[in-house]
């Protein structure tokens, strides 16, 4: 039913469709806003469908190579290339596929929401151009098998994100947040570019699989590793490099904040891809694993404790995003710490990695949902200040329901998805080091306490006189939130199915460097 051309070229199409639509959107808007909505909504729907098609193909048949400009899409190593994969290629393994699934679902929900939530604002031509470029950047980052291409897509993502953070200007405060994000992103990207230069100078290669195969872990490789880890840890908001996160997350339009969460997780993916696929056991796994664990614990604790006193609901949620990133770093960090010890890896390492990776997809869904609910409240009452809110549960019942689902999920309350991934992290990390597991549980309790406060402040109490005319948000905004809420519930009710089909293959693909290298160097036509 689906044309073979689409299946065969899905890695390229999922990038081309949003990229081309990004530059059509402003012209479509000049004809009529409805035409622009059709172009943007249609492009995002097609992109999500192609992306999910590619992901399902990867889960069914294994890693997909897509070599740009080659005679055959899987011809990674041409006969006259001296055994070097010379062309730009996408290497989509189950870990990449998982990130593609996250992006496809979240971006589709966000675009449905945005078409209504942003309709009264000016500059929507630029807004949707940057939005679609963000999607292009994220998809490219998680699909590419070429490290220079990773840098290019990271830059596309960063530039588009900075533009969208500044979108509402807000007396200059949003612009300031965007400048902070942009300066840090640029410095981080520069560090990554230096690391890429080191790899190219040492190994004469930009293909990740080839670099991995030739990796010697020299002093220069150690420098490159540190430059990449620090830059991507900063980009994903790990403490103590998280300071830009509350500024940027709180000032961006809420729909964009939901996508910024996915963007941060694409950076997290880059970090994991680097340490596992590029270096693997050539590095001191315990040392780097503990570095990532410490980043995770700091992120969990500082994130949640900074969230509790916040008065701005989006800053509060931003600090919780930092805190939740800590769980992912903790889970995958534990897996890395025992990577060179097969019995321990089998005993709890894989489980910790699966928990961390499962938390990535869960977090994208419930945190995206929570940011969209914050946007829905702002859409009706025009403030993010918790001290000015109250009684909105009387008039915004659906928004309240979606908020409850998101809040319970982030707090790790069963049967929502956050509980399942946190349980996997608690139990596996407990075997590794009980103190870390206890910290993770305490952080979860504090998260619940924080969201009880937010729920009370926004929705409980009598109808306040100033909000007596407030109504529920329009249907499309509810639909956007509904998609994410549905995923939160379904993933919570069928965690085993999700872990077996999506998460475990991703964790094993990440840990198995040999398979990644063989898919490119040993694969090909």
């Amino acid at each position: 039913m689906i044309p073979a051309f689409v299946v065969e070229n899905s890695p390229a199409l999922m990038i081309i469709v949003p990229f081309v639509a990004a530059f059509i959107a402003p012209f479509a808007g000049r004809a009529k806003p409805a035409v622009r909505a059709l172009v943007v909504g249609g492009a995002m729907a097609i992109t999500s469908a192609i992306t999910l098609l590619l992901a399902s193909d990867v889960y069914a048949h294994g890693t997909r190579l897509y070599v740009f400009g080659a005679q055959a899409a899987t011809l990674a190593v041409p006969q006259d290339s001296g055994g070097i994969p010379v062309r730009i290629m996408f290497t989509v393994d189950p870990m990449s596929a998982l990130m593609l699934v996250i992006t496809a679902i979240a971006a589709f929900a966000v675009v449905i929401y945005s078409l209504t939530s942003e309709r009264h604002h000016s500059g929507l031509g630029s807004y949707y151009t940057l939005f679609l470029l963000m999607v292009t950047g994220i998809l490219g980052m998680v699909a590419t098998g070429d490290i220079f291409n990773f840098f290019v897509f990271l830059e596309i993502l960063s530039i588009a994100s900075a533009g969208l953070i500044a979108f509402r200007i807000d007396g200059g405060v949003a612009v300031e947040a965007a400048i902070k994000y942009f300066v840090l992103s640029t410095i981080g990207a520069l560090a990554i570019l230096v690391a890429i230069g080191i790899y190219y100078g040492e190994y004469n290669a930009l293909n990740m699989a080839l670099i991995a195969q030739r990796m010697q872990f020299t002093l220069l490789d150690q420098l490159a590793l540190v430059l990449i880890i620090a830059a991507l840890a900063m980009k994903c908001g790990a403490v103590p490099m998280h300071f830009w996160t509350p500024d940027a997350y709180s000032m961006a339009p809420s729909s964009i904040t939901a996508l910024l969460v996915v963007a941060s997780q694409a950076s997290l993916y880059g970090l994991f891809r680097t340490v596992f696929s590029l270096y693997n056991i050539t590095l001191n796994a315990a040392c780097v694993g503990w570095l990532i664990i410490i980043l995770g614990v700091l992120s969990m604790v500082v994130g949640v404790t900074m969230a509790i006193p916040q008065k701005n609901v989006k800053r509060l949620m931003a600090y919780h995003a930092v805190s939740q990133t800590g769980y992912m770093l903790l889970g995958v960090g534990v897996g890395l710490a025992v990577l060179d010890n097969q019995p321990l890896l089998e005993a709890f390492g894989y489980m910790a990695m699966e928990g961390g990776i499962f938390h990535i997809i869960n977090h994208a869904m419930y945190k995206g949902l929570l940011f969209l609910t914050a946007g829905a409240i702002f859409f009706r009452i025009g403030t993010y200040d918790l001290n000015k809110m109250g009684g909105l549960g009387h008039s915004m019942k659906w928004t309240m329901v979606f908020f409850i689902i998101g809040a319970l999920a982030i707090a790790g309350i069963p049967p929502f998805n956050g509980f399942a991934s946190k349980l996997m992290i608690y139990e596996s990390v407990f075997v590794f080091n009980p103190v870390l597991s206890v910290i993770a549980m305490v952080v979860s309790i504090l998260t619940l306490a924080s969201f009880v406060k937010v729920f009370h402040s926004i929705f409980m109490g009598p109808v306040l006189p100033e909000y007596k005319d407030v109504r529920e948000v329009p249907g499309p905004m509810l639909a956007g939130m509904g998609i994410l809420a549905l995923v939160v519930i379904v993933f919570g009710l069928f965690p085993s199915l999700v872990v077996e089909t999506l998460v475990a293959p991703a964790a094993h693909a990440l840990a198995d460097q040999g398979m990644y290298i063989a898919a490119v160097i040993g694969g090909g036509a």
Binding site: G188, A233, C287, L291, N387, G390, E427, L464, S496
Partner: protein
Amino acid sequence: MDMLFTLDTGTGFWNPLLWVLGTAVAGVIAVFLYSLGERGYKKGTAQTEPFISGNPEPEKGLVHVRSGNLYWGFLDAMDGYYRRLVPLHTGDLDDYVLWYMGITALFFIVVVVFR
């Protein structure tokens, strides 16, 4: 069926279906207890008005406990922690960059020393 609902967590398991069933049973018991309650309740009468020691009810906007008043005890108890943590969040881009550079340098030392 078991694979569909039961998540193996390494040292234990998690079955959301059992939890949902347990919650449903608890809900049925709660509804049963509720049904045994006072039936003479009349909505919209003086019965439903709050009794605040005989004092008049304040305006609706004054009744709501605002966000700033919540968890003051926790924040007060943790004052020493917050007095150190909050000032680190200066909002100054120079500080953000310095933290990033400092962590990069620290990581490099650790990775090289423990290679």
